[in-house]
């Protein structure tokens, strides 16, 4: 366990008598974007929370750069690992966009006040996610797409080098979804390790360096995106996948929707 990275080592997660994850091993490395795919209830979200240190494995362990994740304080963990869940209730009422992005700096705050460094990073995140015009608006008045950009800006301001996102595009229209995924790709190229749970297989194969398929609580496939066999992926997910060429690059569509 000396290699850099965020690694799950032969971990089980059981709740009551139900096994959610069984003997899972996975490693995230800096600079790569990993798409996690699988059927509903396969254990994708649980795997992400395990990596985020938000749940502890029943057996096995999670390591961050060879240190047991459980040994880190909540603040130390949050300095290294960012996490974004899909549905966010309740929505904080009355806070401005800037204030909510600033919450991402909690782990690095002195107890008394935010520092100048914090302000600059929050400004930078606002600029990067093009939220300048919304910065002083109450967050609860924003649309779903705008809110998602605020959460992404928060992840940016958090300065974590591991970023884990659970279905970040599920509430977004096509253009915001594309923009969001491009942002994640940019983060990976900038050196962050990004893991993202996606149901959009075309998007997963297009943006990810690696695709991990979770099937009934186990890692069924863990392959580079370009060498992944789409027919096996489709078979395991219960759909027929067709390959098409767009601008000379392989893309994947789910077949069977078009009436014959």
């Amino acid at each position: 366990m000396t290699e850099a990275g965020l690694a799950v080592a032969r971990a089980w997660v059981t709740v009551g008598h139900k096994t959610i994850l069984a003997d899972v091993a996975l490693r995230l490395r800096p600079g790569e974007l990993v798409a996690v795919v699988g059927r509903n209830g396969a254990g994708k979200s649980t795997l992400l929370r395990l990596l985020a240190g938000l749940i502890v494995p029943s057996r096995g362990a999670v390591f961050l750069d060879a240190r047991a994740l459980g040994a880190l304080s909540a603040r130390e963990r949050a300095k290294r690992i960012g996490f974004l869940a899909p549905a966010r209730v309740p929505v904080p009422v009355g806070y401005t966009v800037r204030q909510i992005i600033g919450w991402a700096r909690f782990a690095r705050h002195s107890w008394w006040r935010s520092t100048g460094v914090d302000d600059r990073l929050v400004d930078g995140a606002i600029e990067a996610m093009e939220l300048g015009a919304l910065a002083e608006r109450p967050f609860d008045t924003l649309s779903d797409g705008e809110r998602q950009r605020v959460w992404l800006a928060g992840l940016l301001a958090q300065e974590a080098d591991y970023v884990l996102l659970d279905e970040p595009t599920s509430h977004l229209d096509a253009s915001h979804a594309v923009e969001g995924l491009r942002t994640l790709g940019g983060w990976a190229r900038a050196g962050k390790a990004v893991a993202v749970v996606l149901h959009d297989l075309d998007a997963a194969l297009a943006v990810a360096d690696r695709v991990v398929l979770i099937e009934a609580g186990r890692v069924a496939l863990d392959e580079p995106a370009e060498s992944l066999a789409t027919d096996e992926l489709g078979r395991r997910l219960g759909v027929r996948l067709a390959e098409v060429l767009v601008d000379g690059r392989r893309r994947v569509v789910v077949d069977g929707l078009v009436a014959s």
Binding site: R88, P90, P92, G94, F106, A135
Partner: protein, 353 residues
């Protein structure tokens, strides 16, 4: 760069608004103290107040009639300071619990504090202790302990799998309050001769104020207030779901326990000295939130200042409203706070969901 500049330019007025609101509330508190200390059967002008206080602090013999100096220093000032400390404590506790429960209707008495304090006080009053113990503050001590025991019980029953369930805490608080209320009623039913003393205590007031009492209340209140202000950023994060708060580095469980513990500490200190004073803890945070927004650090500090000013003025009204004796201050706060809160609700109708 232009986008960046725009957002910064807009950020500044928010800070200015906090400063302006803080200055205004601070001046309000100062002037209400000067007014309350000066008002009474013997009027004491602000200039005389200053002279008397400066003389005393400098250890000089009084240059103003010592009887007037004594009225100011031994009677009015401790009473006004106690009212201010109590108002600050109740308002800050209300702000913190509204944040924790994410509910604008939360008040400092929500988790059983009031019921526990009442039971402690009524138990002591109906026991028929020796007058020495009453003079030594037995009622206040019992109210303080009763309040903390009640909250402790509610917290105990809100535990679920190593974490504190906030909805369970709310329900457990209601159950504990009902139980305490039953025992209090039982005691009063069989000690009819003590009903007036108990009722007077429950309605609240500051006519038993002296400096030792101020000191006994101020110490826990100051500790609790400082702790709550330090918890401000944690209370902000608790507006998110618990998982999102944890992902940002918050120890959610510790923050919840600390919030309930500190809010109860300051409330117990306030209630033990002044009885159950309604509406300060509910109204003050709402007004301040309208002025500076929901961020908890500034909300807590400014609510404390505003609550202090409100209760100083309410006690002044309670003191001078009747030609003979005092009105219970709880009657004044409810009579002013109730209509005010209704007006606030009316003006914000449709926005509370």
């Amino acid at each position: 760069m232009s986008v960046w500049a725009l957002s910064r330019a807009r950020a500044r007025p928010a800070g200015h608004r906090t400063l302006a609101a803080g200055t205004a509330l601070g001046l309000l508190l100062l002037s209400s103290v000067v007014l309350a200390v000066g008002f009474g059967r013997v009027a004491i002008s602000p200039a005389d107040q200053l002279t008397i206080i400066v003389d005393r602090l400098g250890g000089r013999p009084a240059s103003i009639d010592p009887r007037i100096a004594s009225i100011l220093l031994d009677i009015r000032l401790p009473r006004v300071v106690l009212a201010a400390v109590t108002g600050a404590a109740l308002a800050a506790a209300g702000a913190a619990l509204q944040g924790l429960f994410r509910n604008p209707l939360a008040d400092p008495y929500l988790v059983g504090v009031s019921s526990g304090a009442s039971l402690g006080a009524v138990l002591t009053l109906t026991l028929g202790l020796s007058p020495v113990l009453y003079a030594a503050g037995a009622v206040q001590a019992a109210a303080f302990i009763g309040a903390l025991v009640a909250v402790g019980l509610a917290m105990l029953f809100a535990q679920a799998g190593g974490r504190t369930s906030v909805p369970s805490l709310l329900l457990a608080g209601i159950a504990v309050a009902a139980l305490g209320g039953a025992v209090t009623s039982y005691l009063l039913f069989f000690h009819g001769e003590r009903i007036f003393a108990a009722f007077a205590w429950l309605l609240g007031g500051f006519n038993a104020s002296d400096w030792p009492l101020v000191a006994r209340v101020s110490l826990p209140a100051a500790v609790g207030l400082a702790g709550l202000v330090a918890l401000g950023p944690s209370l902000d994060l608790l507006q998110l779901d618990e998982e999102a708060a944890r992902a940002r580095g918050l120890r959610v469980e510790a923050a919840k326990v600390a919030t309930v513990g500190l809010a109860s500490l300051v409330t117990a200190a306030a209630v033990s000295a002044a009885g159950l004073i309604a509406f300060v803890g509910l109204v003050a945070p709402h007004v301040v939130r309208l002025l500076v927004g929901p961020e908890h650090r500034r909300l807590l500090v400014l609510s404390a200042i505003g609550g202090a000013a409100f209760l100083v003025v309410a006690d002044l009204v309670a003191r001078v409203a009747l030609s003979e004796g005092d009105l219970p201050v709880g009657v004044v706060t409810a009579a002013v706070g109730g209509p005010f809160f209704l007006a606030l609700l009316w003006s914000r109708r449709g926005r509370l969901g």
